[in-house]
Symmetry: C2
Subunit: 159 residues, 2 copies
């Protein structure tokens, strides 16, 4: 296979930009993720591919809960904050205020649309990311969101 | 959970529009799909959520091979053709010309970027779609493609 054709074609897959959070007791996980898709209407299920060494997968495996937040087109700087290692301090995660959701996972106040989820399955042996299947338990909507997509951001993740 | 908030938030997930094809001997499968994501760099893996009763899943389960084609922004009418039941006739699939790819799955001539894939795993017991993990074996690129995304199409699939 031609490596350039592979990278070019894989980068034509359309992806959004999300921040995913999780918590296990006093440990917190948070990361910007892009490999996300719905995979079922009934029950409402998502697939999220997560870095194996990341704080989100770590907390999700222990607690079984996670929140997926949709990043708005004008909120690039919030996504940027979650490229760094996760740091919780006095109700802030990487500098962003949060509160405890119904599942006890952290909900970021500045991201207006989010899905609180329960872990259904995680497959860690396919490739270099863990493939998590999550059931949506709660949905939050605090105003209109025009979602940020990878193609309109300065970033690439794919290929 | 508020059903409207759930639908509204799930529809904020960003998805592209693709045509997926497969073949098992003289049976052909083809469908327009949107729930697609890369899930690994090494090896290059995709996740595709497929309708359980569809011709693509049927042929993919038997043959183990499939082609994912990226639909361009100006090719909405090609995606539309694959909402209907699959019909092969003299080298045409639902009216679109194709040839046999390296994996023997059908490659649609009018879709310029495509990924020939091998089935790695399929999970049929999570929800109302089968979750297939596919390895990219070949990538084709016959010119520039500006991908069609669900948000810029007349269609919705999610919620």
């Amino acid at each position: 296979m031609d490596a350039k054709a592979k990278q070019k074609t894989l980068r034509l897959l359309t992806s959004g930009i999300y921040v995913m959070t999780s918590r296990d007791g006093d440990r917190y996980g948070a990361a910007t993720v892009t490999w996300v898709s719905q995979v079922s209407f009934k029950p409402p299920l998502l697939m999220v591919a997560l870095r194996r060494d990341g704080s989100v997968l770590n907390c999700l495996l222990s607690s079984g809960f996670s929140v997926l937040h949709i990043v708005g087109r004008e909120q690039q700087e919030i996504a940027q904050k979650f490229f760094s290692a996760t740091k919780e301090s006095n109700g802030f995660l990487n500098g962003e205020p949060f509160y405890e959701g119904k599942t006890s996972a952290p909900v970021l106040k500045n991201l207006k649309a989010f899905l609180e989820c329960k872990l259904i399955n995680v497959a860690e042996d396919y490739g270099d990311h863990a493939v998590a299947i999550l059931e949506v338990l709660e949905a939050g909507n605090r105003g209109e969101v025009d979602p940020l997509v990878v193609g309109d951001s300065p970033w690439k993740y794919g290929g």
